[in-house]
């Protein structure tokens, strides 16, 4: 099973927060991705990492959290009892409590859009491609290739190679 996820390229994020607004539109007024500013010098978006060994899935007492075909960690609302354990064990602080329905809620990588063959809304809208959706290893290979190409170019110009990736 190829695991597809949202890859975040911090070096390209312009903090426009289009991903947040798109996510909010697709999820009834609730955004599951957030953009944070770092020392007024850079920004980074953060959403659920849909971890390979997801603590939230392991700890869920009712099996409300499960993995779908793309490898996304989804929440079955009928099974959730709102015990908050998933939120407590998540190292990124992702699952939140929906206090109206008294169950947890989290990023579903836009399950409804993936069902129609579309990308998650945050990725689809990201103006600078700071968010990419795909198999992690494929994306890494692509990044390596880009870096190598640029490194060769830079060497030709006799310049120092930047290790920042850009």
């Amino acid at each position: 099973m190829a695991r597809k996820t949202v890859f975040i390229d911090f070096s390209k994020c312009i903090e426009c927060r289009a991903c947040e607004v798109a996510c909010e539109r697709e999820h009834n007024g609730r955004s599951f991705i957030n953009v944070f500013e770092w020392q007024e010098m850079a920004a980074m978006a953060l959403n659920c990492r849909h971890c390979e060994n997801a603590p939230c899935v392991e700890v869920c007492p009712t099996n409300a959290l499960y993995r779908d075909e793309d490898g996304a960690v989804l929440l079955a609302p009928q099974k959730c009892i709102g015990c908050l354990m998933c939120g407590i064990v998540c190292p990124f602080g992702i699952p939140e409590l929906d206090s109206l329905n008294k169950i947890m809620m989290k990023c579903d990588l836009c399950a409804h859009r993936r069902a129609e063959g579309k990308l998650p809304a945050c990725v689809e809208t990201c103006p600078t491609d700071a968010l990419l959706f795909g198999d992690f290893n494929d994306i890494q290979r692509m990044r390596r290739e880009k870096f190598t190409e640029k490194a060769i170019e830079s060497t030709k110009e006799g310049e120092k190679i930047s290790l920042m990736g850009l």
Binding site: K12, C16, R17, E20, V21, R25, E40, A43, E124, P127
Partner: protein, 710 residues
Amino acid sequence: MEEKLTPVVCPYCGVGCRLYIKTLDGYPTGIEYAEDIPSISNEKGKLCPKGNAILEYLLARDRLKKPLKAKEEGKFVEISWNEAIREVAERLKEYSKDDPDAMMFFGSARTYNEPNYLIQKLARMLGTNNVDHCARLCHSSTVTGLKAVFGAGAMTNTFRDIEEANVIFIIGHNFAETHPVGFRYVIKAKERGAKVIVADPRFTRTAWFADIYLQHYPGTDIALLNGLIHVIIKEGLYDEDFVRRRCTGFEELAKIVEKFTPEYVEEITGVPAELIVQAARTFATAGKGVITWAMGITQHTHGHDNVRLAATLSAICGYQGREGCGVSPMRGQNNVQGACDLGVLPNVFPGYQAVTDPEKRKFFEEFWGVSLSGEIGLTVIEAAHAIEKGKVRAYYVMGENPVISDANTNHVLKALRKLEFMVVQDIVPTPTMEFADIVLPAAAMPENEGSLTNTERRVQWSFKAINPPGEARPDWWIISEIGKAVGFAGEGAKGFSYTSPEEVLREINACTPQYRGITPERLKKNLAGIHWPCPSEDHPGTRVLYRDRFLTSDGLAHLAAVDYKGPAELPDEEYPFILTTVRYVGHYHTLTMTGRSRSLVKRWPEPLAEIHPEDAEKLGITTGDWVKIETRRGVYPIRAKVTRSVKKGVIAVPWHWGANVLTNDALDPVSKIPETKVCACRVVKITEEEARELIKAVPKVIPEVEVVKG
């Protein structure tokens, strides 16, 4: 039940992004990204936060749904369309009979080409050239400046050229925040290895991506540009062949920049001399370069000269008439280019044909079948002054909001109160509407159709996706009805009897040389649109301007030799800080649309005045404190944000919420743009109670309009 996807153009900025609106039986249910339409300006259907939220303002609860008539200031009664049109037409007819120049018409960069063409046609057929729009406040200096150097006031290239450039010089332009989707192409170029130079008084999000960042003081652009040109000429890095073949005025330029040594420029601008040298070398030796700018260059009393110098810098490096090169003044509204092209300016007919040129005037006199005025009309800011002198007595405002957008708000308010008659045609209540006598409810862009022109000169057709609320009507329909009611009942171009926007566009094709081949049929078939100039129906459109010659009379680029002059108002003992205005990525201009978008207001709830930590410490200000900013023209209460992104001595304030009560309405002598980017101010810490009291005096961006019974 039928779900439908309709391709529209985003109603916000000049990038002109395509998207689909999803509807169910004519009611909007969502949006979809236009990733399947090839070669559009927003590659892969990318959208910024505003584009993602467009349904929210369309569904705003306070949309105007019925024509209104004022009972007293700010109180209205509902009337029928018949009554409204009759009353407006009768009043306009009266003014047209006694003194046509007592009327002032505002076109709009926020509606399609067709209504813009019609409003200037109506104004001119009524006998006045007093017609202008908000381009006066943003890129009028670009239009005059580029016309002086290259012969036409528009971006010379497209986004693809930004992507293909080897160096991108971004000056006075917070590209990443003002045009996030356009900034995509800068990032792509950078990924390829292109260098990015950013010059801005603020360390903006755009500056995060700079290889070289020049932080100059607001209003010192001429010195900075002259400094760069000085180094390029002195080190022989300019394109000698290009200058010899295609430019004129190089000797004067070389003479005037002589004294702008990097050291002298460092004194004026505060940018280290070695950075100026490094930037000049990087820019001139890249082989392919683009310069982009926006309000930081144009909104100055020397905006015209700033633009001419930026164009000169591009020309001496030979960065014109080729792919991957050019100058890109980035337009703010999705149709500000179109409104300019179609003559919503006091000095030109559609297609930049001067009203003072007897031959052009004769053409339009025959075309429209009336005699026309050959006198240049009033600009936006001049009109406000003319009201005070009693020269202008009536305003027709289509989709504009001068109370928030014009410099020196208090003066504008005083002027609007003196008007005899004012018509406001808009989609929602605005602070300007409070002074209106008649209010005409308009359909928003996705609620009707038409063509519009983005910053790259790309003309696109936007289709009707949803029905307008209540009795709101398309702008082209409203103006045609008024035209007919005034009595212009002639056939074809001689009257106003249109049945569709397509008919209007065909008339535009017939009288605007640049748009001749851009027919409604072609636009509807090709969703990616056509770049003007497009002189005939089989012409593919023009991506890069000036391949062989410039559009000046002699075909050469007229290089500008300009000596340094500072801003109109500099800090002194009484007002020790420099005030500059900025904007946020999630808000748009006067907040008429984004202020009604829940998801945007949630993220960008209020303005924050940026102040340098050392200044803040002296004044005892910490982030979140209330301060009042005072200038010679007004007082503005705002909360402070202490940040190193501004230079010491500079205060940056977002203008969306009405900060123009502070700004200076001193004008550029050529372009008549007010200097909203620099003035002197002082800052005082105040309590929250004091702030609440002061806020009452600032016009409310989202006013509550009272509709009373007959």
